[in-house]
Symmetry: C2
Subunit: 316 residues, 2 copies
């Protein structure tokens, strides 16, 4: 299930085979098995320590709200320059005391400097870059590994998993990108593709796949989504907060590596290039517990959970 | 774009043609046009009064919370017996004073009687039925009309719109059903498929297409989703509220027809069987405003907005 992009011809063949298999099986009958297939809970209970890896503190952000901590895993492979800029901003404490500016229902939560467009009033970016070249897609490189999802997708020729992230690729343009699923973190920008710098960030609280390849994605929330998704929706256009709403301050954003070890949130992620993860996907594609009467026969890349657990925990 | 199920052979042909066209066009180049294609705002501004229809008070529920009113459009065509039972319960004021029991992040908000399983303590259903036969799918009838969406879907052979609702159909089983999109309202049940009665209802606050054909869908929220989606998430298993959380009471659920006209929320819905709606879908499938750099070339049935506006409003 894991391949490198070196073997392009073989991968192409594999992709078409996958798509065909998916087209045939998606609406077919549920294969009856003598033993009941495992549920996701069964799969996780049977997972081995090697199926998991610890989050790297050097690529983890803590977004601190009054209600708690949101943990964000960064994706430097997909957006090296933007992620570096965000780390520089976090080290400068740039985000501390800014507000959440926008909560648009079923779409995004966004924060940044309300005065970003006003040179006289905006907060200094310090040593961070003010503009960065867009990192919307990544050219498929020699060392890129990708675990394909067999299920066909509407928005991309192929979806799957790149490390800890839901992703897509297009072999005709030799490009890969992170998909806009629930919890995806991206970079706000103006109409100019190269106008984002990471000072304004958003988190997807709905489905937003049509943003794919239009914006630089820098990571995903791995813990604390509910602190963002339950925020009051903004009454202004596009869900921007107006004077009606109470502001929601960002207490701080810190790189985990800059936080004393005792204060870190130590998490592990299930590796997506393992047989355990493949079994987990199938347990969600076709649910066989007593409640379900008709297995779906399909799963969307954004509906595949990428499990997270506390370090040392036996269960996520 | 509209057909009746009478012409099954023709429809089959049409479906395959649609799927093929979609497969070819989904990842193709953006067709360059001399005139800029309309945005959704343009489409709505150009809509005619006949493109809209008023919500029927006899099939509209008002869910009243302390924070405001949630308006639910019922779908009696898809679940006649369950919708009738829900109306009976609303007339008896069965729901008044019950609590929201469960808010599971990116999944559902659910309310009902906390003591439903305790014969000694549960609230009486009055004249309403305590069990109902499942209405998970509807057999394709002679008079059923369906506006197909050209874009291929993973969870169903064909998606589209049945009246004001996102829906799917399967010509091999001659069945149609409402899809679990954001805002879909369904009936909680136990493991027995026929154990739902409408006394316990849920609203989807994420994507949940894998529930399709497993549960009776009775309608969708057309206004006030943000009052549900921004509720605190439950800390218990499956998002059930525990003693930690403050309860969220249901003040009342009323059929709009039982509310004095002056107190009604008068809404109109854009008809889905119109050229205007077809143009709106395309405006969302491929966005051409200055911000977007790469049109998606695809749209998921759950991402097609079905516009709602106040009666007499020029804009939604």
């Amino acid at each position: 299930m894991k391949y490198k992009t070196r073997s392009t011809r073989r991968m192409l063949h594999g992709l078409f085979a996958c798509l065909l298999a998916s087209a045939v099986s998606a609406f077919g009958a549920d294969p009856s098995a003598s033993a009941k297939p495992p549920t996701m809970a069964d799969v996780l209970a049977a997972s081995k320590p090697a199926d998991w890896h610890a989050l790297d503190p050097a690529d983890t952000l803590y977004l601190q709200l009054a209600t708690g901590r949101v943990v964000i895993e960064l994706a430097p492979q997909f957006a090296p320059h933007t992620v570096a800029n965000i780390k520089a901003l976090a080290r400068e404490k740039y985000y501390d005391g800014l507000d959440i500016l926008r909560v648009q229902d079923n779409y995004v939560v966004q924060w940044g400097d309300l005065n970003a467009d006003n040179p006289a009033k905006r907060r200094s970016l310090g040593k961070a870059q003010s503009t960065l070249k867009a990192e919307f897609t990544l050219p498929l490189g020699k060392d890129f590994t990708f675990t394909p999802l067999q299920d066909r997708d509407g928005y991309a020729p192929q979806t799957g998993f790149a490390g800890d992230f839901p992703a897509a690729l297009d072999l005709t343009t030799h490009a890969t990108w992170l998909t806009h699923c629930y919890g995806t973190v991206g970079v706000g920008r103006d109409n100019d593709a190269n106008s984002g710098n990471g000072a304004e960030l958003y988190v997807v609280i709905g489905g937003a796949r049509w943003l794919d390849r239009n914006i630089t994605v820098v990571g995903r929330v791995v813990q604390g989504m509910e602190l963002l998704s339950s925020l009051p929706r903004g009454s202004g256009e596009l869900g921007f907060y107006t004077k009606i709403e109470h502001p929601v301050p960002i207490e701080s954003i810190r790189l985990a590596a800059d936080v004393p070890p005792a204060q870190r949130t130590n998490l592990e992620i299930l590796r997506t290039d393992t047989p355990t993860f493949a079994t987990l996907i199938e347990s969600r594609r076709n649910r066989h517990d007593d409640w379900y009467k008709v297995p779906a026969g399909y799963i969307d890349v954004c509906n595949v959970p990428i499990p997270v657990r506390a370090v040392g925990a036996m269960k996520p």
